[in-house]
């Protein structure tokens, strides 16, 4: 073990990690999947969805922002944390208007996949049925805010990867909404269909026009295997070494 490495324990399993990484990254490198929605590789961590909440040395922290420390004891897959994650996923569903059966993203949607992974078939909280605007002004990209989960992946990707700042947020609290950098809607911005921001969307909020249903429902990514399986399969392979 080099001086750049630390040892930590996730659900009792001892792992080594570079001292500069987060708990989420350390877990992933060791084949442990910590559920997440607002985190996306290559973007600065945001810590907003709270789905990746773990207990680090007893303290609740998002795994995506918590740095590893030597000797750190992390709880990830516990009854308490699974319950909190289910509640948070439920909240995300009821604060939006999500109709999976009519959504082109179904099967490729990280929110839907997260619900399935956590055994959620219907939320226990009452639907809030908010009014959220659709923006179809752009020739190639559609915004359906009914499906937005305010993860900021498009906001960060546009700033950090596309160098543009096309997206932001307006309002606060339960009235917070995705905003675009123009008074004339998405068409008034510099967004290009090939921008990273468009593909960063985990749900069906930012959709490319005219490319729907290329893969039939039932044969899509999370129709095949639960979200996180790719990460966990690394563990399976390692276990066989």
């Amino acid at each position: 073990m080099s001086s750049h490495e630390v040892t930590l324990f996730i659900d009792g399993k001892e792992i080594q990690a570079n001292k500069d990484v987060t708990v989420l990254e350390a877990a992933e490198e060791n084949g442990i999947y910590i559920p997440r929605l607002c985190w996306l590789k290559g973007l600065s961590p945001f810590g907003a969805c709270r789905v990746c909440l773990v207990r680090a040395n007893g303290r609740p922290q998002p795994a995506c922002t918590q740095r590893v420390m030597d000797g750190m004891v992390v709880d990830n897959d516990t009854e308490e944390l699974r319950g909190i994650r289910r509640n948070i996923i439920d909240m995300i569903f009821v604060e939006g208007n999500h109709f999976c059966m009519f959504c082109e993203k179904s099967g490729n949607c990280e929110l839907q996949a997260m619900a399935y992974r956590h055994g959620i078939t219907a939320p226990k909280y009452p639907f809030l049925f908010p009014q959220k605007a659709v923006d179809a002004s752009h020739p190639d990209v559609l915004i359906d805010r009914n499906r937005c989960i305010l993860c900021s992946r498009c906001v960060r990707a546009s700033k950090e990867q596309d160098g543009k700042g096309v997206f932001g947020f307006t309002g606060r609290s339960i009235d917070k909404r995705l905003a675009v950098s123009s008074g004339e809607g998405l068409a008034g911005t510099t967004l290009d269909v090939d921008d990273e921001a468009v593909s960063a969307c985990p749900v069906g909020c930012l959709m490319k026009k005219r490319v729907g249903y290329a893969i039939p429902v039932g044969e899509r990514r999370y129709d095949q295997e639960p979200i996180g399986s790719d990460i966990e399969s690394v563990a399976a392979n390692k276990g066989g070494e």
Binding site: R50, I84, M91, I174
Partner: protein
């Protein structure tokens, strides 16, 4: 109004050196001059400051006092805090609405539509008027209250509201709103030429630390005769803890900020008291500004800062010119500026908030000062290491700085001899609600709640909200508990409720406050508070189900555990303190044999409401 005026926008941006960290100041000023920040103004600001346009809208839409739509020349913001409504705020609100002919949040009117109906004769309010509700404006001891632009009007009645509308109609263009709206000015500096406000201090009990007379700058002189390290040792010896509510030891915070590497360090005074029921900082700012500024200067000397900033809540804008004048006097007297002590230079500026409770959280406050949405930051790094503009920053409360100056006047041993074992000194309390003598009480730590209630003349008490909605609703069985960091810790708000109050409805109103004030960054706080209110309202209205209590407990626990900052950690407190302190109240309200079979659905009410909404004749249920 609100004609986007690019020249005006450019001028404002220029005055702030096109500095994007001053974005909040820029939009505040544009909003003040043009009475809104509309699409074209936002475009122009984005261009001038070279920031994404979405970031400009993000800031404008975040703060309650800013608007993307025209507000007219006059904005009346009626405080809808629990205490204001207890004191007749709803009737006052209705009187404003009727007299103006403008609904709340319903755009700009001229007041003429109200002619005849509300008892106010015709005529226009020049430039138009808009009507809004606002969260607690720090006037609970003289509620109901409202803001007319920056001017505070207190002890309102429906007829006082109509008089205000009348005066606004009769106003000649340039007439000073302060003189126009107040029949007389309040006590102390409230009558100062630069304040001219009808607000009253209502100091019922001045203690020996904060509200005792302070004329000299003895504290400052004594501090300067010691080394900065010695100053920190004295503060640590005094065992002074933060007065804003969290109670972090001030000396430790200073030590960390001093030790942190940085070519520039900052002292920030948190004057953003937004906790409903709290108004002590307003009185301290009015009457003990020098004491506070001395404390800030001492703190600057101790940690090696050259710049101090007071972040003043927008609701207290009426104190701005007065405080600026106090600072100017201090510069003239050599109490600010260069060469204060052995190479130490220090200056203080006032910066304004724009209506956001969450900015009382120190990292949200710093974000706000940097011209962003007031969203709390990740910690670590703490402000002591990486704060304002990335530099080591020490944030303390108004009252904490006052204690600092007094400690150097009278000594740390004197200070720590006051109060209780774990909590030295005094606490300034803001007391309001159902009591005979609401106002400001400075008491030594360790006093029992029962004694405080006797002081303020509260009888027939059903509950006391200690620490505002983010604190606890305390039942009579706990009135012998004491106010101190080890028992009932509080930022100082005590709201008294008598036996006639509906505590479940009060909890619901407090949840409404948190829903309004959540920044919306993290899911549990953004959504969870709305869900809590939905269920507590159901119980309040008699449609609860026994299983709702477990539902509320579990939901509260998720919000408290998973939220990102103190707002979400405490926002379920109105619910959890009802469940633990007043279980019988909830059980009484939940039908034993619910005719709704636990669905929470009341067919009769729903049909009646549907009938009203559709405009059809009312539908009578046959049972």
């Amino acid at each position: 109004m609100c004609v986007s005026n690019e020249a005006a926008v450019r001028e404002v941006c220029e005055r702030f050196d096109h500095d994007r960290t001053r974005l909040l100041d820029v939009v505040r000023e544009v909003d003040e001059r043009l009475r809104c920040v509309d699409d074209r103004s936002m475009d122009a600001i984005a261009r001038e400051l070279k920031v994404p346009r979405a970031d400009v809208e993000g800031v404008v839409s975040f703060y309650s006092f800013l608007s993307t739509k025209d507000k007219g020349e006059i904005t009346i913001r009626v405080c809808n805090d629990v205490v204001d409504r207890m004191k007749g705020g709803d009737e006052v609100a209705a009187a404003f609405e009727q007299a103006l002919g403008v609904p709340f949040g319903g755009g700009v009117g001229r007041g003429s539509a109200g002619a005849g109906k509300g008892g106010v004769d015709g005529g226009d309010i020049e430039g138009g008027v808009s009507l809004e509700y606002t969260s607690c404006i720090g006037m609970c001891d003289q509620a109901p209250a409202a803001l007319v632009n920056d001017v505070v009007v207190t002890r309102l009645t429906p007829s006082a509201a109509r008089t205000i509308v009348r005066k606004l109609k009769d106003r000649s263009g340039s007439e000073d709103l302060r003189t126009l709206l107040a029949d007389s000015f309040g006590d102390g500096n409230n009558s100062h030429d630069l304040v001219r406000s009808m607000v009253e201090n209502s100091i019922r009990r001045a203690g020996e630390v904060v509200l005792a007379p302070y004329e000299s700058d003895a504290g400052l002189t004594n501090a300067f005769s010691s080394s900065p390290q010695e100053v920190i040792r004295v503060i640590k010896a005094s065992r002074l803890r933060g007065r804003g509510g969290a109670g972090f030891p001030a000396g430790v915070k200073w030590e960390h900020t001093r030790a942190a590497a940085g070519d520039q360090k900052y002292i920030i005074c948190n004057a953003d008291e937004g906790e409903p029921g709290t108004f002590k900082d307003r009185v301290i700012l009015t009457e003990r500004a020098h004491l506070m500024f001395d404390g800030m200067t001492i703190a600057g000397y101790a940690i090696g800062a050259t710049q101090g900033i007071v972040y003043l809540r927008a609701e207290y804008a009426y104190l701005r010119h007065f405080l600026d004048d106090v600072l100017a006097a201090r510069r003239r007297d050599g109490r600010l500026g260069s060469g204060l002590a052995d190479g130490f230079s220090f200056d203080i500026q006032i910066r304004m908030g724009a209506g956001a409770y969450v900015c009382g959280e120190e990292t949200a406050l710093i974000e706000s000062l940097e011209g962003k949405r007031g969203q709390p930051r990740f910690k670590p790094p703490f402000p002591a290491v990486k704060g304002y503009l990335g530099k080591p920053t020490c944030v303390n409360n108004v009252e904490t700085f006052c204690c600092v100056a007094r400690i150097f006047e009278k000594g740390s041993a004197w200070f720590s001899s006051i109060g209780s074992a774990g909590s030295s000194g005094t606490k300034v309390l803001s007391i309001s609600g159902d009591c005979h003598r609401p106002g400001i009480y400075e008491v030594p730590f360790g006093v029992s709640l029962r004694d405080v209630l006797a002081l303020c003349g509260a009888t027939d008490v059903a509950a006391v909200q200690v620490g505002g909605p983010s604190g606890r609703m305390v039942p009579p069985a706990d009135f012998d508990r004491t106010l101190c960091y080890d028992d009932l810790a509080t930022g100082g708000a005590l709201i008294v409720f008598n036996q006639g109050r509906d505590l479940i409805d009060i909890a619901s109103q407090y949840l409404g406050f948190f829903i309004h004030e959540s920044c919306g960054y993290c899911t549990p706080c953004r959504v969870g508070n709305t869900l809590l209110k939905e269920r507590i309202d159901r119980i309040r209205d008699g449609h609860g189900h026994p299983s709702d209590l477990d539902y509320l407990k579990e939901l509260s626990s998720t919000i408290t555990t998973a939220s990102r900052c103190g707002l979400g950690w405490t926002s379920p407190n109105p619910v959890t303190s009802l469940i633990t302190g007043f279980p019988e109240l909830l059980e009484q309200r939940i039908p034993l044999d619910p005719s709704n079979n636990g669905t929470g659905f009341d067919l009769e009410t729903s049909l009646r409401k549907a009938g009203q909404d559709s405009g059809l004749p009312s539908y009578e249920m046959e049972v």
